[in-house]
Symmetry: C2
Subunit: 448 residues, 2 copies
């Protein structure tokens, strides 16, 4: 019997676990779901005879290692900070690893070790990163076969509430680990625009947003998503003068989040003592200088940030609960965790609401052998969640990872080392299965 270990049973995992359990009998798998909170894991496994739920704190290295040792494939849905350690332990114990998170440099550096150990360390195999890479590579390969040169590549991704589910003023919903929303752009962003590399520090990323029109959705905003430039080489776009990956939001998100970043709230390093007993207002007060003048906290925050004390942004910060006189009551130590807690509480999807996943690719292509004809290729995926069943996020993040696990265990992914799914051997197989599951892009081509 092949053993699959799923690490983390959070919001992105339900579809993944359900898929693996569904296919366990036919394929001879046993699925162990591990979470810090065993009840969480047990809820996902729901007594399935081919599944087991265990309590596992990823900080307990001895236990983590023991579990990895026993498994054939680890599907690692833990927070980014655990990626490297889990990957390293997988390499040590000859266990494959699949993850939906970004691959950091240290995991990339495991390539040779992974090859020596004859295992595949496959990161960025979720939605964004994940499906976006695979559909991009497929589009680019298609253009290339027709003799085209990609001059501009723009790609947008997002998991947001569906237009029929916009019940909160921030027009956002938490459908994945809120930590990733809180720490978005923590290392800034980098992209290529008209031949110029531009690098934007964290405190400026949300000031550099721009308007994007999405067919079927209307006017959205985007902010630059991490290191777009690194994908230029990975995608093989040597001739692209523009290379931008952006994150889509309903307009107004960025100007609000900018102020949260300027305050310094997305901080997961500095530990605040007795955080549970402190009020949100007390925590917020820590982030403004003692000398800032003004009558009350909202006024002082507005003065410090030089924004209107009565404007739209301040209204949203208040609505989010940052000025609340209630104790936070949270099980955590940092202001980042305070933000995560507030987002989770205030930006939950309502009972009857559904989320939406949007991926858009825009390619500007020139055909040198066709009189330098130019065309614009737009490829869009919009997927909606099913209220009270699966979110679109859980399905689109979990399915690629689940398919990759299946392909690995049926020996249909004959590749070792540290990878992301930009190899044809990986993406063709996964895209085929995604299409079979109903996840397909709509493509339009227009002359420019």
């Amino acid at each position: 019997m092949k053993k699959i270990l799923v690490l983390g049973a959070g919001q992105s995992s339900p579809f993944l676990i359900s898929y693996l359990l569904e296919h366990a009998e036919a394929n001879g798998w046993f699925v162990t779901v591990a979470d810090r909170d065993v009840n969480f894991a047990a809820k996902r496994v729901a007594g399935h005879p081919r599944g087991d739920a265990i309590a596992l704190d990823a900080k307990d290295m001895a236990m983590l290692t023991a579990q990895i040792k026993k498994s054939d494939v680890v599907v690692n849905m833990l927070a980014p900070s655990f990626q490297h350690l889990v990957a390293w332990e997988c390499v040590q114990h000859h266990t494959h690893m699949i993850s939906a998170s970004y691959r950091d440099q240290r995991v990339r550096d495991l390539h040779t070790d992974a090859q020596r150990a004859d295992v595949l360390i496959l990161c960025e195999c979720g939605l964004d990163p994940g499906i976006d890479h695979m559909s991009s590579m497929s589009l680019i390969s298609d253009v290339r076969e027709r003799g085209g040169i990609v001059e501009a590549f723009l790609s947008y991704g997002s998991g947001i509430p569906a237009p029929d589910s916009l019940s909160n003023p921030m027009k956002y919903a938490i459908t994945w680990n809120p930590r990733n929303v809180v720490m978005a752009a923590e290392h800034g962003a980098q992209y290529l625009k008209s031949g110029q590399i531009k690098i934007v520090p964290h405190w400026q990323v949300f000031r550099r947003s721009w308007v994007v029109e999405v067919e079927g959705l209307g006017t959205m905003e985007a902010y630059p998503n991490r290191d777009s430039l690194s994908y230029k080489r990975i995608y093989g776009l040597d001739n692209a003068e523009t290379m931008i990956r952006g994150t889509l939001r309903y307009p107004g998100w960025s100007e609000t989040w900018l102020q949260i970043v300027r305050l310094g709230l997305p901080n997961e390093e500095l530990r605040i003592p007795d955080l549970a007993k402190r009020t949100y207002a007390e925590v917020l007060e820590m982030f403004i200088p003692i000398s800032t003048s003004g009558d009350n906290l909202p006024q002082r925050v507005a003065n410090h940030l030089q924004i209107s004390p009565t404007g739209n942004i301040m209204e949203k910060l208040k609505w989010l609960g940052l000025f609340s006189e209630e104790p936070t009551g949270i099980d955590g130590e940092t202001s980042a965790e305070v933000l995560s807690h507030l987002l989770q509480k205030k930006l939950a999807l309502g009972e009857t609401e559904r989320d939406m996943v949007v991926l858009v690719h825009e390619l500007e292509v020139r055909y040198p052998e066709d009189n330098n004809r130019r065309e614009k290729v737009v490829s869009t995926l919009i997927e909606y969640g099913e209220p009270n069943r699966f979110t679109a996020m859980s399905k689109t993040v979990g399915l690629p990872a689940a398919i990759a696990a299946k392909l690995l265990l049926t020996d249909d992914l004959p590749i070792t080392g540290s990878h992301i799914p930009t190899h044809a051997a990986i993406y063709s197989a996964i895209l085929r299965e995604l299409a079979a599951a109903g996840l397909e892009f709509k493509k339009s081509v227009s002359a420019v």
Copy 2:
């Protein structure tokens, strides 16, 4: 024969290695010095019969593990990003580890694992962090024995050029890993002032500097150093209303570095392609928006930052070489590495110049049983480097780590787990040996 492995032969290691080799014969040690550049390591070992120099890239996990396995004590002088991995491998292979770097949460979390493995993982055992912890604990313990309560604790540390060696306009010299200067305050800073916790994000830390008068030195500036608050509990200062650890510089450093941070240059995540071939000016241009108007790069940078294009700060940025039309030629990929390279080049100590290490502790103490009498205790260590021999930095960082290694190998540090040197068992022994080596604080007490 006991085996000591020194990881990293950089600027902080010469004194350490020299000390260990000097004591190797008498104590039955063999010292292996590992560096990415074996020539570096060989230069330090200088053919000593009790030493060996090896090439080791810490990213090659298999080789790193093999070396750790063979050793009794690892003195880990690698960059902070390797601390956790090295500590984890040391625990796995029952090897003690000593490091002069800050202990991060993940290394702290190894406490139980380290106890189970019967090893000591001792971090923050250099100068600052290191000697500062030990001398602070000793001062505090002394005050406590005399019935005093510490109401305010301020501590300053620095490694800077001596006043007779100020040959560059930035009044600074690189005497340790320039990476740590470049990434200073990357996670912001936190301190307690008059009962109020204040948290300062990275992009504001160097704006929140203040004046400090140091006896024998004159007027200096300080900026808040990382998480001062965490040491309140570690030092047992339950009643302190002020708890600040600061970094000292000659006045003018902070206002200049602030602008470098605001530009976003201290970034070690985003990788710039073909960095060696690009000029400094080209790299700088990446950090300002396309739309910023102005005739030339200095003007556009000044406009973007809203600082004077002709003032003192701009002069220093130019002097540093940020506007140079020369290719960087560096072996690196990030703007942080560009900064490191410039600092190393422009801020090297001259042949006849010497550095200086400064530690200052200021305690405000109340004696409840002596009619609430108040006193101020100031304790100062100023140590100068010896031109062309050892820097003060190398001596003060290396000696505590070397002494800790010696005490461990002579079974005089009977403690296991993950620690910093705030236990009396650790600091008394090390302080005693430091004093014997001539490193002693001057203490003054005055009524307030």
